[in-house]
Amino acid sequence: MQKSSLDVVRGTLDVLILKTLSWGAMHGYAISQAILRQTDEALLVEEGALYPALYRMEGKGWLEAEWGVSENNRRAKYYRLTFDGRRRLREEMKTWTHYAEAVGKVLGANSKPQWEKA
């Protein structure tokens, strides 16, 4: 991933995390594997990058974390969406759909746009 598109990626990562957690509480490893699987490893090149994002979102109050026990009985930190987090996810999804639609329209156009006279 290139530096210039980092911001896009960060915003994207946030939405992906929110979306992943909307299915229920998960620990960091599970989140990372879910995202990797669903995006064909396109958006998360380094798994470690997930964690600062999680901490940042916890700070914003979208997520809350709690220590729990994993499937194989190990101590793990579980994240879940807060009320704010859910609302955020809805907003982000709306924005993304609009954005994707807009970009899709442009990229999918088959005639040259007309300049309107003033």
């Binding site: 509480a25 620990h27 960091g28 490893y29 990372s32 090149v45 380094e46 798994e47 470690g48 990058a49 964690y51 600062p52 999680l54 901490y55 940042r56 916890e58 700070g59 220590w67 729990g68 026990v69 994993s70 194989n72 009985n73 190990r74 101590r75 793990a76 930190k77 579980y78």
Partner: protein, 897 residues
């Protein structure tokens, strides 16, 4: 997500640890990834490397996470903490409301201890420690001459003063003063005002500047230039309307015009001179200026910086030695000494008494503290179970300790407020208790206000005990093994031998302290009682006394003085009453008395200059009957003992047993140096009359007829008898008396008019005040100790209620159960009382050596008395809760938790 075991919640016991959390989280990720890769068939080594590669830079990510997490934590902590504290405050308020007895007892006990200690210390501080409120008070000394043969302090003559002042090198300045009072003439009559004559350097010596006008100037000590006056602030406000124009105006004092040159500061108070309104320069007439036998001055000196009192004393002694050698006829056996002004003031206000009261209060504070310690200890331990529940529900240990802290602090906050009120009230009460007339001799007119530094100090002591007794168990609670506590029944915790021992030790110490306090109080109060119940030698009831001081220019010779006083006596006599008023140079408890040296006619003296001395008074024939003093032998004065008749004298029994042991004193003669060495024949012996609050007897006294030795100043005494059956109030007669005397001479004011009873009350007031305060403190100590014992026993009864129920169910009688508790009480009592009595004995001996001038009673009766009182109180405090428990329904008792 699986259920989280309890212990896992407490891995972060001492607050969140972001670093460790991040570390754990990332490691979990890496390990999970590694094991997944191994599951896919990689070798462990390879799997770990692949996991790391996919993760990226671990160090960078963990640092990033940590800084994000910490920033967030700070934000949360700040608001959460405040909310938690507030919660704790509300929680403890609720808890205290639920335990009203604990709260009330703890707060009142502490308030009494803190308030009492503070107010007592405030008084000691105002009256003793800061008694001398002049700049650099440590440089000020009080000096007097010394009769080295009798070891008595005497006043200083003017020539001696001048020599001491001029020859000494250790003093910056040495000033002299003498009490005086003036007749202040006003447009409508005259009035007597308290004054003092001071050497011109007096105020400079004290480093006091008048607030208005100036101090005295050196030449104003010369006779003829001395007619200037400095007035007190109070006099200026009340009599001169506080006008600046008062400076330069004239006051008519003793018939001479004095110009007012200065007004003293409002807080100026020279304790040793009492309440003085008018200060004039000391400018003695030729006789007093030159005669070394005319001793009427007291000295005050300011030492040079760095000079010690001992050095100053040595120097004065040396100069006095030189004077004795050069003026043997007047100064043989006359030394000179000085003590610090503070000590001198302390002598007048009863240093020892105040120190004792202070010690008593400190003891009281200790009792209060141990009481509260006991209460807090019980409370904290009783909460052990609650603490365990809170712990198991996830409360942090820190939080538990903090709750205990907040609760303890709440109690102390309430106690501090109540204590301040108690202290303020008691200080006010104590000073208000002092008769106005007596205040003049107390530093700052006996006014003291609550000392807030001391208050803080007392509070700190109490708080320290509170924290130790309230927090120590709370810390212990926080460390408990939750499971074991929860399994125990609530009471078992409190019966651990360690706790029991501590509580018993506290209550024992309380009883011990109370014993010492109470017995010391009893001893002192009994000793003080002796002071005012010892025989007076006269009957004070219903006697009115007042003084006249004649203008000596107008009444210059003895005849005129005698005639005036006799005409006053006749003018104020009530015709129908057989008892005429009496005239006397001095009255008992009048604040001053006369002395004379004398020579028994046919006794040989080793040194004619060393004569014995006795008290002296000149009285009219009615004196002894007015006072109802028993005449033991011979006769009293009669109308034939006139100016022209032979000089006669009456002595008291102490005089007879000292100078005529086993002989008949009647017909013997004594030569009195006070009356130009004339010989007087003893015609009668009377009982000893007490002259002041000193309860000792055996002071020889000589009386001569007033007619034969009149004076310009004298008292009149009258015992008005009720004519209509109702007792006449002596003071009601005063207006009529004043009118009749004014008819004789309007310029001679009546002053110092008081009933003899009032004089006695004033004389005994300091002892009565202290005695009253001590009684209050003794009672307080007793009740605090009772509360303490009651608390311990009642608690231990409530802890044993189940046991009592079982015993009762098994057939133990009520009497038997009571005996069980009584035994407990007796053990506590004995454990505290025995060391207490030993301590009391030591305290009693110390008191005896401290109060030599007071006749203290034997130690055994007060100690027995104390032991009996404490015994009754402690056993009552034991039996009350025990009876309640013993009469409980056994079934209820067994189920009691």
């Amino acid at each position: 997500m699986a259920r989280v075991p309890i212990w896992r919640r407490y891995l972060r016991f001492f607050g969140p640890d972001v670093g460790a959390d991040v570390h754990d989280e990332l490691r979990f990720h890496l390990e999970a990834k590694t094991s997944e890769l191994i599951g896919q068939g990689r070798s462990p080594e390879e799997a770990r490397r692949e996991a790391m590669r996919q993760f990226g830079d671990v160090t960078q990510f963990s640092a990033l996470c940590r800084s994000l997490g910490e920033g967030q934590l700070r934000k949360i902590k700040w608001t959460d903490r405040l909310a938690e504290w507030w919660y704790d405050v509300r929680h403890s308020a609720r808890a205290l409301r639920r335990a009203p007895w604990f709260t009330v007892v703890a707060v009142t006990t502490l308030a009494a201890g803190i308030g009492g200690a503070t107010s007592m210390f405030s008084l000691v501080d105002a009256w003793i420690i800061h008694a001398v409120r002049f700049p650099d008070p440590q440089q000020l000394v009080f000096a007097r001459s010394l009769d080295t043969r009798r070891g008595r302090e005497i006043t200083v003559s003017f020539p001696d003063y001048a020599d001491l002042r001029d020859r000494s090198r250790q003093f910056q300045s040495l000033a002299a003063w003498s009490f005086d009072s003036y007749t202040l003439s006003l447009e409508n009559g005259a009035e007597r005002v308290a004054g003092a004559k001071v050497s011109p350097n007096f105020f400079a010596t004290l480093s006091v500047q008048p607030v208005l006008g100036r101090g005295f100037i050196g030449y104003e000590g010369e006779r003829g230039r001395h007619q200037v006056a400095i007035v007190s602030h109070g006099f200026w406000k009340a009599r001169l309307n506080g006008e600046i124009a008062a400076i330069g105006s004239k006051l008519n004092l003793d018939g001479e015009p004095y110009t007012i040159v200065g007004v003293l500061p409002k807080d100026f108070h020279f304790t040793l001179a009492g309440r003085v309104n008018i200060w004039t320069p000391l400018a003695p007439a030729y006789e007093d200026r030159t005669r070394r036998q005319a001793r009427f001055l007291q000295l005050i000196g300011r030492m040079k910086p760095g000079v010690t009192v001992a050095q100053a004393r040595q120097e004065l002694k040396t100069i006095a030695g030189v004077l004795a050698a050069s003026h043997p006829d007047s100064n043989l056996d006359v030394g000179c000494f000085c003590i610090s002004l503070r000590d001198e003031v302390g002598r007048h206000t009863g240093d020892q008494i105040m120190m004792i009261v202070f010690a008593v209060t400190l003891g009281l504070l200790l009792i209060a503290c141990s009481n509260v310690a006991n209460l807090l200890l019980v409370r904290a331990l009783a909460r052990k179970r609650q603490a365990a529940i809170q712990l198991s529900l996830g409360a942090s240990r820190r939080r538990l300790v903090r709750q205990a802290l907040v609760e303890t602090l709440s109690v102390f906050f309430m106690a501090a407020v109540a204590g301040a009120l108690v202290g303020w009230w008691f200080t006010d009460f104590s000073t208000g208790f002092i008769p106005y007339e007596n205040r003049g001799y107390l530093p700052n007119y006996g006014e003291a206000s609550l000392n807030w530094t001391v208050f803080a100090f007392a509070l700190a002591i109490a708080l320290l005990t509170g924290l130790m007794s309230g927090l120590a168990p709370a810390l212990e609670n926080a460390r408990t093994n939750v499971v074991s506590v929860l399994k125990e029944s609530g009471s078992a915790v409190l019966q651990s031998p360690k706790v029991k021992r501590l509580r018993l030790a506290l209550v024992t110490a309380q009883i011990m302290l109370a014993t010492i306090l109470l017995s010391s109080t009893v001893i002192l109060v009994k000793g003080f009682r002796e002071i005012w119940s010892a025989p007076m030698g006269f009957d004070s009831s219903g006697v009115l006394t007042f003084a006249l001081a004649l203008d000596e220019r107008q009444y210059s010779d003895a005849t005129r003085q005698r005639i005036f006083f006799e005409s006053v006596r006749d003018a104020i006599a009530v015709p129908q009453q057989p008892l005429k008023p009496a005239i006397a140079r001095f009255v008992p408890f009048g604040g001053n008395s006369g002395r004379t040296t004398f020579r028994v006619q046919d006794q040989q003296l080793t040194d004619p200059r060393r004569l014995p001395s006795a008290g002296f008074n000149a009285v009219s024939p009615e004196f002894f009957s007015a006072l109802r003093t028993p005449v033991l032998v011979g006769r009293i004065f009669e109308s034939r003992d006139t100016q022209d008749g032979p000089l006669v004298a009456i002595v008291n029994d102490a005089f007879v047993s000292q100078y005529f042991p086993g002989k008949n004193p009647i017909g013997q003669s004594v030569r009195l140096s006070r009356i130009k060495d004339s010989s007087a024949e003893i015609v009668g012996v009377v009982a000893e009359i007490r002259n002041d609050s000193d309860p000792h007897t055996g002071y020889p006294q000589i009386y001569v007829p007033f007619a034969q030795e009149p004076s310009a100043g004298a008292y009149l005494l009258l015992r008005p008898q009720s004519t209509s059956g109702a007792a006449a109030k002596p003071l009601d007669l005063l207006p009529e008396i004043r009118r009749r005397i004014a008819a004789l001479d309007p310029r001679q004011p009546v002053f110092d008019a008081k009933t003899l009873d009032d004089r006695l009350n004033e004389g005994f007031a300091p002892f009565r005040i202290v005695s009253g305060i001590l009684v209050w403190f003794g009672l307080l100590a007793l009740s605090l100790a009772a509360v303490g014992v009651y608390g311990v026993v009642a608690f231990s009864v409530s802890q044993q209620t189940r046991e009592i129920g079982i015993r009762a169910a098994l057939g133990a009688g009520k009497a038997r159960l009571l005996r069980m508790f009584l035994r407990q009480g007796i053990v506590i009592l004995a454990a505290g009382l025995l060391p207490g009595l030993l301590g009391s004995f030591a305290a009693g001996l110390a008191l005896r050596s401290l109060f030599e001038e007071i006749v203290l009673p034997g130690l055994v009766p007060p100690l027995l008395f104390t032991a009996a009182i404490l015994g009754v109180v402690v056993l009552a405090a034991t039996l009350l809760p025990a009876r309640k428990a013993a009469s409980m329904d056994p079934l209820l008792a067994i189920r009691y938790e």
